[in-house]
Amino acid sequence: MRVKLEALPLDTNGAQLLRNILVGERSNPAADALIAHVFELGARYAVLEHPYTDVDYSADYQTFYAVAFKDYPRQTQRLHLFSQDVTDVLEGPFEAQTEGLKQRGYLGFVVIRPISQGPIGRTVLNYPVPDDGLIVRRAARARNRVHLAGAELHVEGAPFIQQEAKVGACAQAAIWMAALPVHLRHRSPRFTIAEITRLAVTPTDAVLSRALPAGSKGLNPAHMIRALRGMGHQPLFDVFKAVGVSVPTGYAASMVLRYLDSSLPVILAMDHVGHAVTAVGYVETPGGALASGETLDVFTRALLVHDDQRGPYRLLPLRADDVDHLPRSRLMMHDDEPLTVETAVSHMFVPLPPRVFLPAHRADIIARDFLRRQAAELGPEIVAMTAIASQEAADTVERFYAAIQQGGFVRRTYLTSAARYRHHLAQSNASPSVKLELLDRTLPHYVWVTELIPRVSVAGPGTARPIVGHLVVNATSSSDIDSDLLVAHTPHMVTHRDINSATTTLGEIDERAVLIDEDHPYQGRLRR
């Protein structure tokens, strides 16, 4: 058998052509959204590759379809999308194809399964590029290597898949969409939907067994946690809506964004629609704060969400006020009304790396608490000591402490490795004297970094917001809360908290501040 490649120019009838290939005459909102997305990306040409052996469908096939009485094909098709005609490249010399195809704008691929109820298999497409000034932060992006004939192609996107209803429901699809980017970025084990279902339903219970096959009609939060743990993640979870639960306005968005901003996809569940989706990025305003509050959500309009029923890269606005600032065609809708994080998200689940034991909100509270305490208890003394070298610096420090007490800064808290933290700090335009204090500190493998951003600030697609300081919290801690904070850079001062000091008595932390003469705001970490 030979692999066939068919060329498909996507001209005026291109959308209908793609629809026929994907779903035929059937109604499928996810397919319609996917087609609209690829045309927004600028798709002008497609290549259909068949047969294609897909690892995820092969697992589904082995689990269910191979033993069904009805015959199901064992192979899939794979659709590759380009922004230009590629026929001359593919019909030209093999050795020139990799470079030639790269020049024609590869936009990604869609695996098409031979099952009518869920034909969209593993799909990786570029993130959307908004044209209305908003900034897309591609939090859960992963680099995918693709081979077409002998050519190697790359696409950087968030993997999407549709549930196929026999081996898994939306919850398994959402877990798969969250776990695959982590696998691609961090080389953690890879799991198919069939394997996710097996982990979620073992041991089984009465709720799971109401559906045949067990687990095919949905999972509850306990099953999802079980699956994530079985996959080797620390399953971090939270609930924002349930009987006896109430959280302040903006709380759910701030919780979700800390993990997304750490390049970790977040599974979101919406109890009133009985559905789970995966947040894979967020949309930021280029200007100042949009709402009251001191966390990253004040700069954010929406989450970018993969919804197996509504399609890839949908927008879930944070607040009702954000709806009119976003393209309506991408909004998550239910009964003709836009869903928002504030009204719809009831649970979140995060596939944390195995060595992270401190949740983001705890790191954020610790950073906030330290700053407020230092401002209240030590502010005037630090100002006076700074003034010995420079009155201008002392005025800056005084204004900083006043702003801390009035909630004048936005805290951006994200997880990173110590190595990446040092790399970004070294490359930044922070004062060399500040770098000198921070870059040779011993740190645990994972740290939470809290950046301090002025509420009035500007961001761009290629630039992060300026920051006036940052704090580093031990992400691998799990016992003594007082030893979580390791270091804090505030204007003209670096506070070191050495929890392993040889000079203090047992249990005491060596707490010293170094006053910095040359200091200025600098760029925060850029999440492209």
Partner: protein
């Protein structure tokens, strides 16, 4: 006769060391977490545990 090779400590960054050091403990400040912050963390952890006790109320499909 060759001289013994000598290790030399590197001075990183190309800038002079910062010399103005303040012992915060001597100023009466230690960076321990306040009772209010501890309570806030505890409350959020108790709330998160409701995911499990309320799990049977939900099904995501």
């Amino acid at each position: 006769m060759d001289e013994e090779p000598q290790a030399r400590s590197l001075k990183l960054g190309g800038v002079p060391a910062n010399t103005r050091v303040v012992n915060l403990r001597e100023l009466g400040f230690v960076g321990r977490v306040s009772d209010e912050a501890r309570l806030e963390i505890e409350e959020s952890e108790i709330r998160a545990e409701l995911v499990l006790t309320t799990a049977a109320q939900f099904a995501f499909r």
